[in-house]
C-alpha cells in the first residue's frame, strides 16, 4: 500500500486503520451521545412548559423531530457511502452503508410510532395518507428491502453492488416524489408544521432542548454506525479467513 504524503480522509478507507482510529474515537462519541440525549430529553421532559393547545404532548417533539431527521439523514449517508463504493470500491464504505441501515430503520419506526401516538389525541387519528406520513412509510419499506437484499446475497461484492444501486434508485424516486408532492396541496402535516415549526420552535424555551436532543440523536447515529461498521469489517474478515482455510 503506498503511503499518502498528505493525510486524507481516504486513509480511513483502509479497514485496519478504520478499526484503529475508531478504537480511540468510539468511546468519546458514545459518551457525548449519551450526555446530549440525557440532557436534551430530561430538559425537555421535566423543564419545559406545556403547550397552550397541545398540552403535555408537545414533549413528544423531543423524540419525534430528531428521529424523523435522522431517518432521512441515515438514508442520505447510505447514499453517499453507496456512491463512494460504486466509484472507489472502498469496502469500508459499503460496509458502513450496510451498518447504517438498521439504525435508519429504527429511527424511521420511532418517528412513525411517536407520530401516531401524538396524532391520536391531537387529530383524532393514528394515520393519514398525507405526503409526509406516506413517504415515511415508503422509507420504512426501502430500509427493509435494503437490509433484506444484503442478507440474501452470498457474495460480498455483488451484495455491495446491488444494494448500492437499490439505494441510488430509492433516492431518485424519493426526490422525484418530493417534487411531485410539492405541487399537491394536501396533508395533515401542512397545518401542523406551520404551527409547530414556525410559531412554537421560535420559542427558545422549546427550541434549545430540541437542539440538544437533535445533537444527541445525531451522535447516537454516528456512534452506532461506527460500532456496527467495525462489526461488519470484522465479520467480513472472518468470512475471508474461513474461505481461505477451506481452500488450503
Amino acid at each position: 500500500m503506498k503511503e499518502p504524503r498528505v493525510t486524507s480522509l481516504w486513509t480511513y478507507a483502509n479497514p485496519k486503520k478504520f478499526i484503529e482510529t475508531t478504537d480511540k474515537l468510539l468511546p468519546w462519541v458514545a459518551m457525548l451521545a449519551l450526555i446530549c440525549l440525557v440532557t436534551g430529553l430530561i430538559w425537555g421532559f421535566f423543564f419545559t412548559p406545556d403547550d397552550y393547545r397541545q398540552g403535555a404532548t408537545v414533549k413528544i417533539i423531543y423524540i419525534h423531530v430528531p428521529s424523523a431527521l435522522m431517518a432521512i439523514n441515515a438514508w442520505l449517508m447510505m447514499l453517499v457511502a453507496s456512491l463512494v463504493w460504486i466509484v472507489r470500491r472502498h469496502h469500508v464504505s459499503a460496509l458502513a452503508a450496510r451498518a447504517a441501515a438498521p439504525v435508519g430503520l429504527v429511527m424511521t419506526l420511532i418517528a412513525l410510532a411517536t407520530g401516531a401516538i401524538w396524532g391520536q389525541p391531537m387529530w383524532g387519528t393514528w394515520w393519514a395518507w398525507d405526503p409526509r406520513l406516506t413517504s415515511f412509510l415508503v422509507l420504512t419499506l426501502f430500509y427493509f428491502g435494503y437490509i433484506a437484499l444484503w442478507a440474501a446475497i452470498e457474495n460480498d461484492d455483488t451484495a455491495a453492488d446491488l444494494t448500492s444501486i437499490l439505494c441510488l434508485v430509492g433516492s431518485v424516486f424519493a426526490v422525484l416524489s418530493r417534487y411531485a408532492v410539492n405541487f399537491w396541496n394536501q396533508g395533515l402535516h401542512q397545518g401542523a408544521s406551520l404551527s409547530l415549526d414556525e410559531k412554537e420552535n421560535v420559542a427558545d424555551v422549546f427550541y434549545h432542548p430540541l437542539l440538544v436532543s437533535i445533537a444527541g440523536f445525531v451522535l447516537l447515529f454516528i456512534a452506532l454506525v461506527l460500532l456496527r461498521t467495525r462489526t461488519e469489517i470484522r465479520a467480513r474478515r472472518t468470512r475471508a479467513l474461513l474461505a481461505r482455510e477451506r481452500m488450503n
Partner: protein, 90 residues
Amino acid sequence: MSLLLGTPALSVIGTFGAALTVGLKRGGLLLSLLVLPLYVPTLIFGAEVARRGMVGLETTVPMLMLAGITCGAIALLPFASAAVLRVNLR
C-alpha cells in the same frame, strides 16, 4: 386513462426488481418487498386520478404527477436494471 399512464412505470419497476433478485432462491418474497415502495407513488397518483375522475373533479394535476413519475422511472430504471444484470451475470 390512469392505468395507461401508470403501467409502463409498473412494468419497468418490476423488471428492476426481477433483475435484482434473479438467481436468488425464494427471491419472490424479496422481489415484492423491493418493488412495493417503488410502486407506491404510481399507485397513489393513479388512485387519485381515478378518485377525482369518479367524483367529477379535475384530474390534471395528479395525471401530470403520474406522467412525471412514469417518465422518471422509464428514464432511469432501464439503466439501473442493465447495471444490475451486468453485476448478476458476472
